[in-house]
Amino acid sequence: MNYKIPVAVWLYMLVTTVVEVFVFYSGPGTFSVDIAIGVIAMINSLVAALFLMNIRKEPPVIQYLMLAPLALIMVLILTMLFAFAQ
């Protein structure tokens, strides 16, 4: 069994999660810190989807199946926030 990739992905996510917390302590509540934490979370979730769920090896139809609800829910969330931002 090839342990290298899953262990590397696991280590990467542990390190970035710890980095996420360090970034938080560098300036809690500031805009740039919030953005950085958000970006790290998004990249981590993408890595988990690609390597733990192995979505990268699935046929395109499965990838669309997961992307479609993501896109739809993003439309809902952005619309809710946009309506608030008036």
């Binding site: 069994m1 934490i37 979370a41 989807a49 733990l52 199946l65 809902l76």
Partner: protein, 787 residues
């Protein structure tokens, strides 16, 4: 147990379940009709002006229905007709005929199908029990707008029961959608390529896709609502902008639901028009493209037109107004294609055909009046008036019901093996059509009368129109007796139907597919000789027990205000525990077995049926978690005084838990990799490690909650911050708990040698699920601990 009773309670056969859906939907349709007749009696005449007597109610407090009873009747009428009558009638037909049309032996997951049915039925019963509670049932309209649906404005157990019933329904529809989509994707008979799928099945497929992503939004909204009502969380409190939050979550479901109701009827029309006009369906491919565009993305891009007057930004109004006009275009194309099919054809005016023509005619009226409402300027005038009521009834009752009734008549010979009474069916159409238009057409002239008022002062322009409308309601309701009488007559005295009485060419009439066996054909009295083959008996008592357990536990949850409510809740959980263990036992010992058949599976050929099912399920879970995280972001943006990050939660504890969960993701992955290499012992070891890590995660979470609740006084009912934290993290913890139960089953099965290098889809599915749970936490941790 009596064989007849055992068959209907434990069946998992798609035909039986289809018939149960049809019968159940008619039962609920009857209740919904009675409720609206009461409402129409109330509205038939106004309140008498001072000193006047005659055809009017003596005073506003001496009317046929009280204001409270009126509101409950209107609310439950809407809920029942849309969710327990219209959609399930279509699902019943789909259950029966979709597998026949695509040459599948049954639905892909027969037990899940039966579970979906019982959950739907018990959900309806739970929702209607609310009438018998002190204070009555929910009365805030079928939309359950916040804050009308809150404990403050809708107190008592009745409304909670209604919302609990709705949660059961949304869950039932979601699992049913996964099942039907999976069936079309992986169980088509040999030769049934995508191009050869008949139109009804195509339209049901589109309907399912619309359900798949819309009902989870309703489910999320209802979970939040019931949490507010039972646990005292504050999602929909006014201070957190709860009214708009509910509107968004509800209508994100509610608008696609219109197409969920309508599209099956269109599918039946597309099936029936060619048969009785002697011409192939015009522009079939264009119809399919248009329907596809309606479902994704357009149906999810128009919900905010229900919120034009809620104070959202003007630019949002404009965008949704344009999107709404846009969605009417594919419907125009579909309607024109239907009409083109009939031009220069030799029409046979049988009952299915005239009901289809009636459906298209009524849809045109409903559609045109809908275009008026897409304008946010006109909506200022029409919003919340009887014009809107008239419009959506022309679409959802006129187009949908007439189309579905056409389908019933079309398929009665197939379902019963006998011909219905044609003349009675014709009278059914004539009286229905006249009654329907007398009922709803006057409403277009009542564009200045607000809906949901239980009575009104005498106004010449309202009085006559309301009276006419009520007369129409009774004609329309009475005309349905023709349908019931016809069904009874057909079963008792109908002539034996030839195998293909209409000369149709679709596979359910002309079975040319190999592989399809359809167990209950003989027992349901289907057309002799139309289907042969082995009778697959695959009954199971577990679906009904599982659904009953959920029903009982929701009943208990809704009745927690009573001292015995908790006992009922625990009883429900115990029944569920029994059913889940029984379900797993059936699997472990292969007591329930569906034969694998050779099927057309492109483009899913390389994907195991169960794994595809897991992917589809996870796609719906994306919507549930997305809606709940979206609700959090919305509330967070709306609430000025949010706790400073790090001031409430122990960040080191959250980090530790994140590391534990991420590590469990790795061990779950390694378990899968191990069995892929045939190393069973390693797999069991990694699964056990995952179990321990998952349990550790829950243990740390429990300790954290204990500390937050008792030491810091941070509760779910004291602030919106607490509400969002406990609910979101709690829902995630519930997913972890389900994962632990699954793992216990997988470990047991693995120890019995149930997984091999070649057959390990259960482990694959678990690894997928667990990775998804990890991903959700990757968002939850920073959102609640760091931001």
């Amino acid at each position: 147990m009596n064989a007849w009773l055992s068959r209907w309670l434990y069946t998992t056969n798609h035909k039986d379940v289809g018939l149960l859906y049809i019968a159940g939907s008619m039962y609920f349709g009857f209740i919904g009709a009675i409720l609206i007749l009461l409402v129409r009696v109330e509205l038939a005449i106004p309140v008498c002006a001072a000193g006047v007597s005659g055809m009017c109610w003596p005073s506003a407090t001496q009317t046929f229905l009280s204001a409270a009873s009126f509101n409950q009747a209107v609310t439950l009428h809407g809920l029942i007709m849309i969710l327990w009558f219209l959609s399930p009638l279509a699902i019943g037909l789909a259950n029966y005929f979709l597998p026949l049309q695509i040459g599948a032996a049954d639905l892909a997951l027969p037990r899940v199908n039966a579970f979906g049915y019982w959950l739907w039925l018990f959900g309806g019963i739970v929702a209607t029990i609310g009438f018998f509670m002190p204070g009555g049932n929910t009365a805030g309209g079928w939309t359950a707008y916040s804050p009308l649906s809150s404990s403050t404005f809708s107190p008592g157990a009745g409304p909670t029961l209604a919302f609990a019933g709705l949660i059961m329904l949304a869950t039932s529809i979601t699992v049913g959608s996964v099942n039907i989509l999976l069936t079309v994707a992986t169980s088509r008979g040999q030769g049934i390529t995508w191009r050869k799928i008949p139109m009804f099945s195509w339209f049901m497929l589109f309907t399912i896709v619309a359900m798949l992503f819309s009902f989870p939004s309703l489910l999320a909204a209802l979970l939040l609502l019931i949490s507010d009502r039972v646990l005292g969380t504050m999602y929909f409190s006014a201070s957190a902008g709860g009214a708009i939050l509910w509107d968004d979550l509800f209508w994100f479901f509610g608008h696609p639901e219109v197409y969920v109701v309508l599209l099956p009827a269109f599918g039946l029309i597309a099936e029936i028009f060619p048969v009785f006009s002697g011409r192939p369906l015009a522009e079939k491919n264009i119809i399919l493209i248009c329907t596809g565009a309606i479902v994704i993305p357009l149906s999810y891009m128009v919900w905010s037109h229900h919120m034009f007057l809620t104070g959202v930004t003007l630019s949002e109004d404009e965008a949704f107004s344009v999107a709404t006009i846009l969605i009417s275009l594919p419907f125009d194309v579909i309607t024109l294609a239907f009409i083109k099919t009939l031009t220069k054809s030799s029409i046979r005016l049988t009952a299915p055909m005239i009901f289809c023509i009636g459906s298209v005619f009524l849809f045109i009226i409903g559609g045109i009046t809908g275009v008026f409402l897409s304008s946010f300027v006109l909506d200022v005038v029409y919003n919340n008036t009887y014009f809107v009521v008239g419009h959506f009834h022309y679409v959802m009752v006129g187009a949908a019901i007439f189309g579905l009734i056409a389908g019933l008549y079309y398929y009665i010979p197939k379902m019963t093996g006998k011909m219905y009474h044609e003349k009675m069916a014709n009278w059914h159409f004539i009286t229905s059509f006249i009654g329907f238009n007398i009922l709803y057409f006057p409403m277009f002239f009542l564009y200045d009368m607000p809906r949901r008022i239980y009575t009104y002062q005498s106004l010449p322009s309202w009085n006559t129109l309301n009276l006419i409308s009520t007369v129409g309601a009774f004609i329309f309701a009475a005309s349905q007796i023709f349908l019931l009488a016809n069904i009874v007559w057909t079963l008792r005295a109908g002539k034996i139907s030839p195998p293909n009485p209409w000369g149709a060419t679709t596979p359910e009439w002309v079975p040319v597919i190999t592989g399809a066996s359809h167990g209950a054909a003989a027992s349901t009295g289907s057309t002799p000789g139309a289907e042969g083959g082995e009778h697959h008996r695959h009954e199971s008592s577990k679906p009904i027990w599982l659904a009953a357990g959920i029903g009982v536990s929701f009943l208990g949850l809704s009745l927690l205000v009573y001292s015995w409510g908790l006992a009922v809740f625990i009883l429900g959980l115990a029944i569920d525990g029994f059913a889940v263990v029984g379900w797993m036992y059936e699997d472990l010992h292969e007591k329930f077995h569906m034969p694998e058949e050779v099927t057309e599976r492109w483009p899913f050929a390389g994907i195991h049926k169960m794994r595809l099912g897991m992917w589809i399920f996870l796609s719906t879970d994306v919507i549930v978690f997305g809606a709940i995280l979206g609700a959090y972001l919305y509330i967070r943006s709306f609430t000025p005084n949010w706790p400073i990050p790090g001031s409430i939660h122990e960040i080191p504890l959250g980090l530790t838990n994140t590391i534990v969960l991420l590590t469990s993701g790795l061990t779950a992955f390694l378990a899968l990799e191990s069995i892929k290499e045939g190393k069973q012992r390693n797999m069991i070891m990694w699964l056990c490690a995952t179990f321990v890590l998952g349990a550790t995660f829950l243990g740390i979470k429990g300790a954290e909650w204990y500390n937050l609740y008792f030491a810091k006084g941070f509760t779910w009912y004291s602030s919106v911050a607490g509400s969002t934290y406990y609910f979101t993290v709690g829902l995630h913890a519930a997913h972890v708990t389900v994962g632990l139960i699954l793992m216990a089953y997988l470990i047991r099965k693995a120890m019995m040698g149930g997984y091999t290098k070649e057959d390990h889809v259960g482990i694959e599915n678990f690894a997928l699920y667990w990775a998804f749970v990890d991903i959700v936490w990757i968002f939850v941790f920073p959102l609640f601990y760091l931001l």
